[in-house]
Amino acid sequence: MSEELGASSDRDGRLAAAEDSGSARLLLAAEHAIDIGVRALRQGALTSVR
């Protein structure tokens, strides 16, 4: 199950909203960083020995 909480219905919408407030660059940086983190988390969940 994957759920998403945000300020618009999709990432493009959130970026558009952020652009209006002048924070699109920061939001893009955060989204990109989180994508990297989620990838590492999922990979870690698959490979970790628990």
């Binding site: 945000g6 300020a7 407030s21 920061l26 939001l27 989204e31 989620v38 870690g44």
Partner: protein, 233 residues
């Protein structure tokens, strides 16, 4: 698992996520300092900074529980969380800015309407460990005893960021954390505020970096929840 203290752990995955996110933000926003739970960073309260908990709910993650999250926020100063983005392993989310609202799968969300504590599901954070934990846990146990008498139910999910996101989504009525660590709470507090919830300290003052506790609830329960904590102290 890497021991950090008395029953306090990180996994190699925590360290890898923090390292990779730190590197990414260092490239894309080199002018903004970074504070992470595992490797530290700038902690002073002035100026913008990224605040990251690479895995909030590490013990859950290590035991294969989905109740964990990556929590990333940008904090402008001690009391304002301007831009925030948080994604989760099973529950993920982001909110671009204060005033932008909170959404779940594209639909606007707000905290639940809960008229009385007897109808409230209250989340309580994990017990403290390590130095000084005995006194805090005394308060913690007293809070639980009162909630057992007065609330509909008590939950202990093991992820502070998730607690706050679930409060924003209407799944919980209040969350009580007898602590205030920025990487645990900054992103989730923005979601709660954007969803119409209240965030405050035990004395009723608005929550900020100097707050002793982190208490969040639906507006109608601010008084009852605060009374529970004060009576337990």
């Amino acid at each position: 698992m890497i021991g950090k203290g008395d029953r306090d752990f990180a996994t190699h995955v925590d360290l890898r996520i923090e390292s990779e996110i730190r590197a990414s933000l260092g490239e894309t926003t080199p002018e903004i300092p970074f504070l992470g739970e595992e490797e530290g960073g700038r902690e002073e309260l002035r100026g913008a900074r990224w605040v990251l908990d690479p895995i909030d709910g590490t013990i859950n993650f290590a035991r294969d529980s989905p109740l964990c999250s990556i929590s990333l926020s940008m904090v402008l100063d001690a009391s304002r969380c301007w831009e925030s983005s948080m994604h989760r392993f099973w529950v993920s989310g982001s909110s671009p800015a204060r005033g932008a609202g909170a959404y779940l799968n594209g639909a606007r969300i707000s905290v639940a309407e809960v008229p009385a504590l007897t109808e409230a599901i209250v989340e309580v954070a994990d017990f403290k460990v390590g130095v000084g934990s005995e006194e805090e846990n005394r308060v913690h146990l007293a809070v639980l005893a009162r909630l057992a008498r007065e609330s509909l139910g008590v939950r202990m999910l093991g992820s502070a960021a998730l607690d706050l996101a679930w409060l924003a989504a209407g799944r919980l009525s209040a969350t009580l954390m007898l602590s205030n660590l920025p990487w645990d709470v900054t992103a989730g507090l923005l979601l709660v505020r954007e969803a119409g919830g209240a965030v405050f300290d035990y004395d009723g003052s608005p929550h900020g970096a100097d707050s002793r506790y982190t208490i969040a609830s639906v507006p109608s329960l601010v008084g009852p929840v605060r009374r529970i904590v004060v009576e337990a102290m």
